[in-house]
Every structure is written in structure tokens, then in C-alpha cells.
Symmetry: C2
Subunit: 186 residues, 2 copies
Amino acid sequence: MNETIKSILGRRSIRSYETAPVEKEKIETILECGRFSPSAMNRQPWHFTVITDRKVLDKISAANRQVLLQSGDEQVRERAKDPDYDNFRGAPMAIVVSGHREAKFAAADCANAIQNMALAAYSLGLGSCYLASFKIAMEKPEGAYLLKELRIPEGFEPLYALSLGHGNETLGERAPRRENTVTYIE
Amino acid sequence: MNETIKSILGRRSIRSYETAPVEKEKIETILECGRFSPSAMNRQPWHFTVITDRKVLDKISAANRQVLLQSGDEQVRERAKDPDYDNFRGAPMAIVVSGHREAKFAAADCANAIQNMALAAYSLGLGSCYLASFKIAMEKPEGAYLLKELRIPEGFEPLYALSLGHGNETLGERAPRRENTVTYIE
């Protein structure tokens, strides 16, 4: 098994991190891997927001917590009662990928960028977690101030984020895969 | 630069292939990399259709060509006039990834699977091209017979395909990237 395939099969979602910051050189390598993702018609309809200020991540999580506390779902409300509620699970940083609202395949193009960055992070010894829950408040009119604070460019909307850091958990077994997901037309 | 990052930055879309089939063992490794992609809530809302019968790929391309010949866009009609029109660019095989229609993040989850498979293919010395244009006819009522022929499971819709084969072109320079696509919040 070559190193690339080892990275693809070894990568996991990491939900506990050390507080140590990620080395700048690694951040730049990860970003390059995101920017060199494939996109439909090579349109590259993405914008990357690198957040290394933990106070900003806390502010995003607090805004999401407020929204979830109003949820009609009791389980969701219970989870949000945790004062340590944190979408980023203690990671020292995250990269938000926003897609252009008028690009037909932005959802796929930006997913390619996140997946490339998650694999690059793993290959550099870092942990990561692919997130969509970070944007709950930003999608509401009352959370639009967050888009301004993050300086998301006009015409773009946050789609996914990747939390990043030095992992602080022992990797468990890989989650089992669904059966019968392949058909052969030979 | 480690091997994983070399694969991420080295991968290109390949549009010319040798006719030699892809080795079965490599196909299985590539599929494993697709199946072990991350997905929202680990739902794995994907189905893989491995098409190694070139006649089936020709049939799909011919159906798409018929649709494009009716296009209101003259450039599109001109391209479709080519009797060798082929969505798969002569590749000996393709893997179609279909997403569950009710899975909120199927577009991203299935993109993750394609991207993992494209990187795995590159690391195994194969060429690939990430496609969405293969489904033009399948999305129309008159092309629904193609979904039956491909035995796409109930509730799923084809989203992307990856053509695969031994590449038959010299890799050019990487396409330049858009400028000013990164904001730092420090």
C-alpha cells in the first residue's frame, strides 16, 4: 500500500486537540493542497478563511449555541446547554471554505478542497475534522454579522470548515462501511 | 514534500487514455478509498457503479450527444456534431457515484469519494477525470432507461463520475490558480 492510499485510509475525524498552534509552514502547505483541487470547468469558486484566533472560533460557537438553545428538538437543546459547547472541539484553528453562490458545482468543488486539505493535514501528522455545523448562526439574518467579521467576500457563502490541530486522542477502529454499495457493469 | 502531498499537487484531469483495461486489484483499491471517505454523520449516502463495458459508456455518450444536438447554444451543438463525441474521452472504464436523494450533504459526501478515488488512481499510476457531464441524458425523463441499465438503486441519483485508465498524454503545467482567495483572521 503506497503512502497516499495509507493517508486516505488512515485519516479520521479528530475531536480532541492539544492547544499548541499549527506550524505556519504546515498551514501554507495545507492551503496549497486546497487551492489545487479540481473544480468544474476549473472555475475555482472558493474562498478560504484561515482562523487562528481562538476567540473568533469561540464567538462562532457561542452564536450557534444560542440558535440551538431555541431548537424544537429536545436532544439538540440539551446538547447546547453544555457551557463548553464548541463546534471546533478545542482545535486551535479552522479553515472555512466558502463557495460562490452562482457556481453550479460549488458544493462539490469546495468539498474537494476540504478533502484535499484533510488528507494533507493527516500526512503532516495533524488531526482534522470536516464540519458543516459551524454555519448554523451565519445562515440566519441575525448571524450575518459573523460573515462580516470573517470578511467573507461578496457573493460567497460558507459551506464547510476543517478544524485543524495536533490531535489529542487515540485513533479507534475505522467506522464500518455500509454493505452492497457497489454494482459492476461488465 | 511527502508522497500524499505530491499526489494531491500532481493529480491532473486526463483526457486521453490507452485502451488497456485497468487491473482488477487497482480497481478494488480505488473503490476502497471511495468507500472510506468521510460523510456527514457517517451516513455514507453513496452508491458506486463500476462500468468496465465500453459499449455501455458509448451508449451513455450517444444519449448525451442526442440531447446536446437539440441545445439552443450553437457552440454546444457544434461540439455534439463530432461523431466521436465521448464523455469519457476514450477511457476503458468509469466509476459513477450516485447520492441518496434525501441525504442533505450527498453532494459533498459523494464529492469526497470521487476526490479520494482520483488521488488513489494517481498514486497507482493511473489517469482519471472527474466528470459531471455524463448525466445530461439520465436527468431527463427520456433518459431514465439508462438508470435502469446501470441498476442505480431506488432513491439514488448519479452525481459524478470518474473516468479511469492508463493515461496517454504528457502532463502539462498546472492550471494557474485564482489570486486573493485566502483571508487570515489572526
